[in-house]
């Protein structure tokens, strides 16, 4: 297939942009497994930096995973019923739904810094709460909740939930049966998309967490900032490498999930 | 208005990226000033053919497109000087009606005053006087289509190409616009190529019709040719409704369970060959209802259902074949389900396909 000059110029530009984005990632991954970055690859391949990161920051990794999973559970329990309520109220297009979505998006629209400050001001005096992982969890939930509600709501709207429920009701199903037998299964693709999004966002959340954390409640991104500031380049790189290894499968799963839901037949 | 152009397609074929051929090599000649209709079901290649003529697609190697004496095969659409009307109008939403119409003129650098005059002339031509300053989203479907037409005509194209222009409109509007369009095309005398899947539209508008099927031309002819003398089973089925009855040939007629159907010698297989299985076809409006007891009745059947349609009545009659015979009559009368009825088909109305197209066996 022949291409014009314009095509090749645009392709080159695109490749340059791509290089801009990817080259540092590649460098960072290399740095994480090289003896001495300054010397370069010739200094040898090693996992000692990764080991060092594991020794020093292991807890942050487990904490991030724990918080992400807890966050997922909370957003599922809170967000799915909320989306359901919005979807049922005039098919999800009412002013009420819009206002709700608007409100829920506030912790996302407003810089994390502000949200975190507000939380500290309001609850900072409760020492036990302030110093626990729960405090951080609250911040994460506020930030990720709209990302669960939105896709679930979207799927519920498009599958014409009201009609399905009416059909189920006409066959005798009560509210609980309808919710678990009709609503949830049909919203599954939205729930999955939301879940992946919530977990990914929680693992990478920094702005709120940095303000809320204490030395005993450091998460992975907080640890990263610590490492970048105080450790060797190689250590920071190795730490970043671990982070990338955690999120790449999530991103791939999200890609796969959106692709399969696109081919789903609409009612 | 413009010197009209003849168009020739020579051995033009089109295969798309996935390997499936959209168009087998076809030869087509369009006479100056005629309105040629490309008719067929979706996927038959009619839109592809139009786009080849327009210059939006290029034919596979070996195909050539000629406008008059000029070979335009390698020219893209911007350089072919055609006027095109799209199915969903494709009006520019960021421009007013007048700006849309004058777009082609602006590109050709016509001075503003002249443009304004042309806009007015065109608006009058399509009965949209005074709407030049309207925004596109304020127009109805019919108005939008007229603007699209005016826009295409503004540049005085050598040929007008219309891609199912009326399909997006509702039935009543379609009929009105169809009449207007017909009048306009006749008046302008411009060469026009019109794509549609609606056979009624095709027969109303076309000087000649090209019936297409799966990338090939099934038949070219005037509307009367196509309707009264379909060249293949496909064309016969596609245009109008067609009755089919199978039986055994005898001298001068076809013997079917319910009676006889006359066969004209001129139509082929009745030439002396008897005792062959054959199929005869005839249109519902050609069937006559005759009283049972006269000698004129050649077929007998039981009425299955009746549909009164105001200007005519449609009857479904069981003649012992697999499919009921459809009869359309303008006679005033009332027929009841279960009633025995006598039918007759005049000889001239019976069609037979050429021998090789006989289905041969009786449908079971």
């Amino acid at each position: 297939m022949k291409h014009s000059l314009r095509f090749y110029l645009q392709l080159t530009f695109t490749l340059l942009v791509c290089a801009f984005l990817i080259v540092p990632v590649v460098l960072s991954v290399l740095a994480g497994v090289t003896e001495n970055f300054f010397v370069g690859l010739s200094s040898g391949f090693t996992l000692r930096w990764v080991a060092q990161v594991w020794d020093t920051y292991q807890m942050t990794i487990w904490r991030s995973i724990a918080i992400a999973l807890a966050c997922l559970v909370v957003t599922l329990l809170v967000g799915v019923p909320l989306a359901y309520m919005l979807a049922r109220h005039q098919g999800g297009n009412s002013r009420l739904a819009r206002v709700f979505e608007e409100l829920l998006m506030m912790p996302v629209a407003v810089p994390g810094l502000a949200t975190a400050l507000a939380l500290i001001m309001a609850y900072g005096q409760y020492r036990a709460f302030r110093g626990s992982l729960l405090f951080i969890l609250v911040g994460h939930v506020l930030f990720t909740l709209p990302f669960m509600v939105r896709p679930v709501l979207a799927v519920m709207q498009s599958s014409q939930l009201a009609v399905l429920e009416e059909a189920a009701a006409s066959l005798g199903a009560g509210m609980r049966q309808r919710f678990f037998g009709v609503v949830i299964p049909n919203a599954a693709s939205g729930i999955l998309a939301g879940a992946l999004m919530v977990v990914t966002l929680s693992i990478g959340e920094f702005n709120i967490t940095w303000m809320l954390h204490t030395p005993l409640t450091m998460t992975l991104p907080v640890g990263l900032a610590d490492a970048y500031a105080s450790m060797r380049l190689e250590v920071g790189s190795a730490y970043t490498l671990i982070f990338l290894l955690m999120i790449v499968p999530l991103l791939v799963a999200m890609q796969w999930a959106t692709q399969t839901s696109r081919t789903r037949v609409r009612l | 208005m413009n010197s009209s152009l003849s168009i020739k397609l020579l051995q033009c074929a089109k295969t798309f990226g996935n390997g499936a051929p959209a168009l087998e090599p076809i030869d087509l000649e369009i006479h100056p000033g005629e309105t040629l209709v490309l008719l067929g079901p979706s996927g038959c290649g009619k839109t592809t053919t139009l786009r080849l003529i327009a210059g939006l697609e290029f034919p596979d190697a070996g195909g050539r497109v000629l406008f008059g004496d000029d070979d335009v095969t390698d020219l893209p659409i911007e350089k072919r000087g055609v006027g095109m009307v799209f199915q969903n109008y494709a009006l520019f939403p960021n421009m007013t009606v007048g700006e849309n119409i004058a777009y082609g003129l602006k590109i050709r650098k016509m001075p503003a005053a002249e443009r304004a005059a042309r806009i007015d002339t065109l608006l009058e031509m399509v009965h949209l006087q005074g709407l030049g300053h309207r925004r596109i989203d304020q127009l109805s479907g019919g108005q939008k289509q007229r603007v699209a037409l005016a826009r295409a005509l503004a540049v005085e194209p050598r040929v007008l190409l219309l891609d199912e222009p009326l399909t997006a409109l509702d039935a009543k509007l379609r009929e009105t616009l169809r009449a207007d369009l017909n009048q306009l095309l006749r008046k302008l005398g411009i060469t026009a190529i019109y794509v549609t899947h609606d056979q009624g539209e095709a027969m109303a508008l076309g000087d000649r019709i090209v019936v297409m099927e799966r990338g090939k031309i099934a038949q070219i002819g005037t509307p009367q040719d196509i309707y009264y003398r379909p060249a293949s089973e496909f064309v016969a089925d596609f245009i109008g409704t067609m009755n089919r009855v199978s039986g055994v040939t005898r001298v001068g007629h076809l013997q079917i369970p319910a009676g006889i159907v006359p066969l004209a010698n001129a139509n082929g297989a009745a030439n002396g060959t008897t005792d062959q299985l054959a199929t005869a076809m005839f249109r519902p409006e050609d069937v006559e209802i005759v009283p049972l007891d006269t000698a004129g009745a050649e077929m007998f059947g039981d009425v299955m259902s009746t549909f009164f349609m105001g200007d005519r009545t449609r009857l479904l009659v069981d003649v012992g074949a697999d499919m009921p015979v459809i009869v359309e009559t303008r006679r005033r009368g009332v027929w009841h389900a279960g009633e025995r009825i006598g039918l007759r088909v005049p000889e001239h109305a019976v069609m037979q396909l050429p021998v090789q197209h006989f289905s041969g066996e009786t449908r079971a």
Binding site: L21, L119, A122, T200, G204 | I77, E78, A90, I107
Partner: protein, 263 residues
């Protein structure tokens, strides 16, 4: 009934604390005037201005770059395209700190550019810790987002409009300006607004690259941690919040959705 847990959570942990924050902003030594400090106080004023200018510059650059790339990818098919797209959108998941680190890898003391310029010119170019580095960092997290939006908008373009323009004689450049650009404008404005809001509120990147750059989020952070000036920190963060919210409201009004994320 279904909304109760969600709304209680939201009220308890965001709405009420936010309202309280507004109050806190007004109980400092300067009282409610603290809210005007962003314009009255030189230090904060420049902080705000540099934040807005930086974000503006990033927005313009991002729109230009991402439109070119996004349109190109949307309209062309070639082997390796999906890999290219995956690579271009991969950084979407990076938190601001990681982006900052990427900038350091490119332009820090041991960065790629530093090493290359040292080899070529004898003097290494290090700009990670300056405004330029911040600019590059903001560009890094903005480009992937806008590419996706542009591609989505380009997909919705009606090809018949372009064909109609071409049938009337327009060359590709005219088709772009007369038909495509107007159709893409709402998407561009809305994603530009989101880009702007994200840049204004970005903290992680500035934190990682921080030395002397003082964008507003950093100023707020310093007020809070270094000076324990809670009232000022509160007031400034409310102001920051209002700015980003307005930008996003603009984006939403043009596109019906706004999904910013932090950096």
């Amino acid at each position: 009934m279904f909304a109760v847990p969600g709304m209680t959570l939201f009220a308890a942990f965001w709405l009420l604390p936010m309202l309280r924050l507004v109050g806190v902003g007004a109980i400092g030594p300067t009282g409610a005037m603290a809210y005007l400090a962003v314009v009255t106080n030189r230090h904060y004023f420049w902080s705000l201005v540099s934040t807005l200018l930086l974000s503006g510059a990033v927005t313009v650059a991002t729109l230009a770059i991402s439109s070119l790339v996004g349109l190109f990818l949307q309209r062309n098919r070639f082997p390796g395209k999906s890999l290219l797209l995956a690579m271009l959108t991969f950084p979407l998941a990076f938190p601001g700190v990681v982006v900052g680190f990427m900038v350091i890898m490119l332009a820090g003391r041991q960065g790629l550019i530093g090493v290359l310029t040292d080899k070529l010119f004898g003097e290494s170019l290090v700009f990670a810790y300056s405004l330029a580095g911040l600019f590059v960092g903001y560009l890094y997290f903005s480009i992937p987002r806008v590419i996706l939006t542009v591609m989505a908008a380009a997909e919705k373009l009606d090809p018949a409009l372009e064909e109609a323009a071409r049938s009337l004689g327009a060359n590709p450049l005219r088709v772009f300006f007369d038909v495509m650009a107007p159709a893409l404008m709402p998407a561009l404005i809305s994603s530009g607004a989101i880009c702007f809001a994200t840049s204004v509120g970005a903290f992680g990147t500035a934190f990682t690259l921080a030395t002397s750059i003082d964008v507003l989020p950093m100023a707020i952070y310093n007020e809070f941690t270094s000076y324990a000036n809670f009232a000022m920190a509160a007031a400034l963060s409310i102001v920051l919040g209002v700015i980003t919210w307005i930008a996003l409201a603009l984006a939403r009004s043009l596109s019906g959705s706004s999904v910013p994320a932090t950096a």
